[in-house]
Symmetry: none
Subunit: 126 residues, 2 copies
Amino acid sequence: MTLVHDERAPYVQVADIIRAEIASGERAPGAKLPSVKKLAERFGLAEMTVHSGLRILREEGLIVATPGRGTFVRSDVDPASLEAGGSSRAESDLRSQVESLTATVEQLSSRVAELEKMAGLSAMTD
Amino acid sequence: MTLVHDERAPYVQVADIIRAEIASGERAPGAKLPSVKKLAERFGLAEMTVHSGLRILREEGLIVATPGRGTFVRSDVDPASLEAGGSSRAESDLRSQVESLTATVEQLSSRVAELEKMAGLSAMTD
DNA sequence: GTCCATTTGTCCGTATGTATA
DNA sequence: GTATACATACGGACAAATGGA
């Protein structure tokens, strides 16, 4: 598992890779992940970049991290539920797409509102 | 200036403050937030810390950020959801966001159609 | 019990990339 | 083409929590 140069942001790829390792059973529930330092060395990234990747998985509920102890795979996560749609790379893609769409719609709304003002619309939306 | 864990982390407080400003109506829907640079100066924090705070609100669906434009308050946010749980995690559900987007796009479509009717169809030949 | 190494979490300052206006 | 603004990455630093010597 290595990072691809042309694809998405490195920290997202880190999340994708580790998520895949959990889904494949390579990292069993309750297992301890390598420290951020080790992961940073493995991926050739800064620790903070790895940390950002782990943050995604934490928000997805796949892992649990405790200062002084380490980062562990949630023990109540069923690998089958990952492919079913609980948390997956597909959901990450969807989320970013929805965010992008939301921004575009927001912008369109303002522009349309501006046009309606210029047009001197008499008929409001009933 | 040691950060006592007595209070919550600064980036969380940034999110809390701005969330409160949105909830109170001080920052109206569609309004443009100050740039990250300005907010960093206002709070006396680094830009990255402010950015982390805004990321929370973005994931909650309260704001929308676009590079080169700025950060804006979502216009289709229901104020009731803010008072309900402080942080409305339910609003970040993909399905509800898609539903909201679909409804907004539909409204925009009819408004644009109305504008096109008023404008006549002469602009098509450019 | 105290000291210390490990580990996560956060902040800072800077730099680069990319999209917008 | 230039300026603005968000997004990410890096390296260094410190705090808090855990665990072992």
